[in-house]
Amino acid sequence: MKSFRSRFLTNPRVVVGLVWLALVLLMAVFADVLAPRDPFAIVGAPFGQPAGQFLLGTDSLGRDVLAGLIHGSRTTLLIAVLATLAAVAFGTAVGALAGYFGGWVDDLLMRLTEFFQTIPSFLFAIVLIAVLSPSATNLVIAIAVVSWPPIARVVRGEVLSVKSREFVQAAVVAGQRDLAILVTQVLPNTLSPLIVTGSLLVATAILVESALSFLGLGAPNQMSWGFMVGAGRSFLRDAWWLVTMPGVVILVTVLSINLVGEGLNDALNPRLADL
């Protein structure tokens, strides 16, 4: 059987995805170098055509679209990644406790998970933002609150299957405490499905963040891709690029994350790769 690295990196879909993600990451990290001016600054005539004075044209106020995209990548990625990390942390805690302790703890935590899976999650995110007021922190909170349940389920399932294995029983006999067993013995073995689910969650988080920003619930005074689409929609008839460009960037980024996530899944579970 081939090594993980060769299975992962010889997959052309993964390579395409990784290249684009590396680009976006570079854009986000070096935004201030690539586009030194404030993305809200007016730099030229309004509605400049793409490939004119500015590569991707200007918007209704004469702001550079490319600079907006570059700075938007920072906002969107940061919020999506932080929200995913928060969701993974919380979901792992809930799933691990439920799976390890079983009984009423499991019942209670799984009821909670089911509840969050039942309620219309996007609507819940909107309600949360509306009540908490739009800000980057509150976006992270709202996205994390609606996206942890799948993580909890995955971790719980893995913990259930790992917990009865011999090395865990050996740790119990050796006198390790519950928490230590959970953290040092059980959880490291749940890592591979967690990585796959977590990486796919970043894609969902980007979609939710852009949709919220599109609706005008994004972080105020920060350029983001969804906000750009929302701001450009009134000028769809005259300036197609204002809506098209940020949307394409969102699409390709989400697509890349999905491709890499699925590549990870195939490489980590080679027996399932054919399905």
Binding site: R111, T118, P120, A130, L215, R233, V243, L251
Partner: protein, 322 residues
Amino acid sequence: MGAYILRRLLQTLPVVLMVVIVNFLLLQLAPGDLATVLAGEAGGAPKEYIDALRARFGQDKPVYVQLLSYLGNLLTLDLGYSFRQSAPVLDLILARMGPTLLLMGTTLVVSLGVGVGMGVLAALWVRTWKDHVISVAAVVFYAMPLFWVGLMLVLFFSIKLAWFPTSGMEDVVAFNEGWARVKDIAHHLVLPTLTLSLFYVALYARLMRASMLEQRGLDYVTTARAKGLTHAQITTRHVFRNALLPVVTMAGVQFGALLGGSVVVEAVFAWPGLGQLAYQSLFARDYNLLLGIFFMSAVLVVLINLLVDVVYVALDPRIRMG
């Protein structure tokens, strides 16, 4: 069957109760209570007047008393009053329910039909270029932001080609009646349905393909082949029917997400449904209305899940054993 439905109905009660409690907590968190909002609208008011208002709304009572009365109100479907729209919240919601259910219904039919069809074809053509085309299309549809798809469709089909209207549910000034009105609404329905469907088409196509391939390798297919059934018979009578089950389950689970998606689609197409009402209440800071919509949506999702479960038990006798 009756006992089963009753048992499932009882199981939904905690969920509804939780929604009520979450709603109550959010209302407490919301900036400014009703009294200060009303006083603000009137252009300021003395403190005594605000206190009197609070007393009238029961907001001077302890929190648990307020929670109980809120609970009682919601369970009798008294969702409060929207002072922005000057109408009871329930009436506003019921008036907007129809267009949303229409949009969701057509989306469900289109996405299931097209998605399952694409999945079956991809499975039949597995590992050929046709399969790859379908799979790539599914992967791309799966990654598209809804609001952007809607705007792109408007750009091509409404602005460039002028085939479909850009927004709304019907041509109000045309005063269409009868079949002309149905036709008009159907015409307005095409782009919103397409927008909301694409993601689910991708989801169901991928699921159906995987499910078909999985079923095709099972023992009962070998048995069917051994007793001399043709390939077409095996596919349509055995593999297809069994492969459909996970897709139906998924369609039931996705109902809540569909409702969330329709908020975005309704905002793009000015579709006069619940989503647009939520969008409006958001910017009017009409928390009573917004939380009322959230409550009714959650109840709707719970009821639909219940319905799917019951249909499922009726369709698949094996589940009744469990």
